[in-house]
């Protein structure tokens, strides 16, 4: 298990190198001039030349990449061409905000998703089942943009329960957390229901019921744990996506997270910033996948991380 862990961590290195090369090349394929974006419409060609030299954009591509890589390996990701702040400083400001929001929304998603999914599966074909699955369908289909503005209108503008937007105490996390969590909750609910239903049809469940076990014990001790593997996969994936920043929710709630920073940086052609953010996002995603893989073993002892 330990060697497996080390191997997976080492595998991060080629992944990140690949990501950084791909991002580097893609950014330069996109039309748009970082110097023009930094200097504004009314800058002269001489200013642009000056900025290009300053940003090192006048050098060849391999030279630019190696310079960047060399600095990045020394912990210097360069400076934002937009704010002129160091990339690591700007990302450092946003990451905790994104982590907080992700923690809240994944909690919302898992609690609502599991409860709805289990309820629906155990009351199969009842009104409750249909109701919650329709709700889940709506949850998947509702654009977070609309949901966010509606929640804001009701709970902030009308009822004044929560602030409209921004970052601050826990109250600032409720509306964006729910907006973000709603979609994931719906997916988790559906996966939980179908996976649990499949398990409930197995022979060992029938045996457990036949030997007179209480319904609760059957579901929570015998069925649920076996039904959880696909659920964990989905939760892990959703978690990864949420960590990559929720651009729309962050924009609607003016929340200073990584997603908004990434999109702003792309539209501004802020190359150093985009490269820095994507590297960090890629590392997070790979690490989450690793955690999910390790969880499988805990849930199902038959899974081995062998050599």
């Amino acid at each position: 298990m330990f060697t497996y862990f080390v191997r997976r961590i080492l595998a991060l290195i080629p992944t990140l190198l690949g990501v950084s090369i791909a991002v580097f090349l893609l950014l330069r394929l996109v039309p748009g001039d970082p110097a023009r974006m930094a200097a504004g419409l009314d800058a002269t060609e001489a200013d642009l030349e000056f900025i290009r030299r300053d940003l090192g954009l006048d050098k060849s591509l391999p030279e630019q990449y190696l310079t960047w890589l060399n600095r990045a390996l020394h912990g210097d990701m360069g400076r934002s061409t937009r704010t002129r702040n160091p990339v690591t400083y700007e990302i450092g400001l946003r990451l905790p905000a994104t982590w907080q929001l992700t923690a809240v929304s994944i909690t919302v998603a898992v609690v609502i998703g599991l409860v709805t999914g289990i309820t629906a599966a155990t009351r199969r074909n009842s009104l409750l089942d249909y109701g919650s699955m329709v709700a889940a369908l709506l949850g998947i289909c509702t654009p977070s943009f609309w949901l966010g503005l509606m929640l804001m209108l009701i709970f902030a503008v009308q009822l004044h329960w929560f602030p409209t937007s921004g970052r601050g105490d826990w109250r600032h996390l409720v509306l964006p957390g729910f907006t973000l969590g709603a979609g994931a909750a719906a997916i988790i609910a559906r996966v939980t229901r179908s996976s649990l239903l499949e398990v409930l049809n197995q022979d060992y469940i029938r045996t457990a019921v036949a030997k007179g076990l209480h319904e609760r014990a059957v579901i929570y001790r015998h069925a649920l744990k076996n039904a959880l593997i696909p659920v964990v996969t989905v939760v892990g994936l959703e978690f990864g996506y949420l960590l990559a920043g929720a651009v729309i929710t962050e924009t609607v709630f003016a929340y200073p997270g990584v997603g908004r920073l990434l999109v702003d940086s792309i539209s501004y052609r802020d190359f150093p910033m985009v490269q820095g953010i994507l590297l960090i996002l890629a590392s997070q995603f790979v690490l989450i996948n690793l955690v999910v893989d390790l969880l499988y073993g805990w849930l199902d002892p038959r899974i081995h991380y062998g050599n």
């Binding site: 039309p31 748009g32 002129r84 160091p86 804001m152 503008v157 609607v252």
Partner: protein, 455 residues
């Protein structure tokens, strides 16, 4: 936070700020400013001629890589005459110099603070100016906080609230909700499509202010069919501008009767092309132009796309089959700034606000030969020696009357030759809580907050 030697009020009129008065030499090469006495920076150090010299030496030194180097590089020399007199010498005559000092980038920072922060990374610097509010903190992407400066030199115009917290909120619906919920007291801006949401609510009001933006469609005058002046004039007659103002801008705009907006210094009301399909068709027939296929570039903002589609529909009436290409901002600017040989621009919907508020910056970058892409923003690739001569004349002198005369003539030439379809000057809409007053959006689009107060 910062003030310049001169500045603009909320109507874009120039006002004395840190300089009480000034003189320019007749040939527009030396500019002398007599500074206000008893002004203090937020860090307590005194404001004087040395401080001014330090600021302009700093921005004119290319090694400092300051963003507005190009704006001030024309200053060859800054001299301290005495403690409260400072003299600038430019490398060539530059009649628009005064307006350049009024540009937001002309704000004077405390030399002591700037020296201290010289080695610190940008985020470590505390901006220190002379304005009624001083810097408290900036968290990028989240907020900027400023607070009242007790020792402000002009108590009558000093801070009326203790603190401003300024937050970037990209989504208009969110800004409006913040205002409605009382989480914000002022928002910049309210999109025209959402005006109705604020009207009729007793707690909020619209703070409208006429802009110095003019909007237009540049036609590539180096390519057919736009080489012919009659074609360009015909398209001016073919567009019902008022109908677009009433729909897309909710009525918040007026017809452009010059390439400059009325609040730009040097503006002259020349004429408008009335909506007249008959005349448009006649002119096109005279020019022998029919069934044209061409492209119209615009940004991909909602408003720009609505305008572009409206233009497309109206141009169809006179036999122009226009393909609208709405592009993302960076892509659009990359396409627009290509060299003339590679530039595929035919028609371009755009707007411009001269950040110095002066006719020179409202005309030269857009219409003079020297401003063809990639150098600047002459998207019409217009080349008119007569016009260029007037622009030059306007820079050769600092005499306001002579300058005005030159720019008046320049504007007349533009309106007659019609390198653009002239559209409108818009009004900028802020949203304000009825608990407050004194805040609007400046004609150049920046929020004007310094006079804000609670009723």
């Amino acid at each position: 936070m910062f003030e310049g030697l001169v500045g603009f009020n909320e109507k874009m009129e120039m006002q004395p700020m840190l300089a009480e008065r000034w003189e320019a030499s007749p040939d527009a090469t030396t500019f002398t400013f007599y500074l206000r006495k008893g002004v203090k920076f937020h860090d307590g150090t005194p404001f004087n001629a040395e401080a001014v010299k330090y600021n302009f030496d700093r921005v004119t030194n290319p090694d400092n890589k300051l963003k507005r180097y190009s704006l001030y590089r024309i200053i060859a020399k800054t001299e301290v005459v005495d403690e409260y007199t400072v003299k600038f010498t430019t490398s060539e005559p530059f009649g628009a110099m005064l307006a350049t000092f009024a540009h937001p980038a002309g704000g004077i920072v405390s030399p002591a603070a700037a020296k201290q922060g010289a080695d610190a990374p940008a985020f470590g610097k505390k901006p220190v100016g002379t304005g009624p509010y001083k810097f408290v903190e900036w968290v990028p992407g989240d907020h900027l906080t400023v607070e009242k400066f007790a020792d402000y030199w002009n108590p009558a115009q000093g801070a009326k609230v203790d603190r401003f917290i300024i937050k970037p909120v990209p989504e208009a619906g969110t800004r409006i909700n913040m205002l409605l919920a009382g989480d914000a007291h002022f928002i910049n801006t309210v999109p025209y499509a959402q005006v109705k949401q604020l009207q009729g609510n007793p707690n909020v009001a619209i703070a409208a202010n006429e802009a110095i933006y003019t909007f237009w469609v540049a036609m590539n005058t180096q390519k057919e069919p736009f080489k012919d002046k009659r074609v360009r004039q015909a398209l001016n007659y073919a567009i019902d501008k008022q109908a677009i103002i009433d729909s897309v801008l909710a009525g918040y705009g007026k017809l452009a009767d010059s390439p400059l907006a009325p609040r730009v210094w040097g503006y002259k009301s020349v004429k408008t092309y009335p909506y007249d399909l008959q005349k448009a068709k006649e002119l096109l027939a005279q020019a022998g132009v029919s069934n044209v296929k061409t492209t119209l570039w615009s940004s991909d903002s909602t408003e720009a796309k609505q305008v572009a589609v409206a233009l497309q529909g109206q141009l169809k009436e006179v036999g122009f089959d226009v393909e609208v290409m709405a592009m993302e901002a960076a892509t659009l600017s990359a396409e627009r700034f290509k060299k003339p040989e590679e530039n595929k621009s035919m028609m371009n919907y755009a707007g411009w606000s001269p950040s110095t508020g002066d006719a020179d910056w409202g005309l030269r970058p857009l219409l003079s030969k020297e401003s063809w892409p990639p150098t600047s923003f002459n998207l019409a690739f217009w080349d008119n020696p007569e016009f260029d001569a007037q622009i030059k004349a306007g820079l050769q002198t600092a005499d306001p009357e002579k300058r005005k005369a030159a720019y008046a003539k320049a504007q007349e030439i533009v309106m007659e030759e019609a390198p653009w379809i002239f559209l409108w000057v818009n009004t900028l809409l802020g949203g304000i809580s009825t608990k407050c007053d004194g805040m609007v959006i400046q004609p150049d689009g920046i929020a004007y907050l310094r006079t804000g107060y609670f009723k």
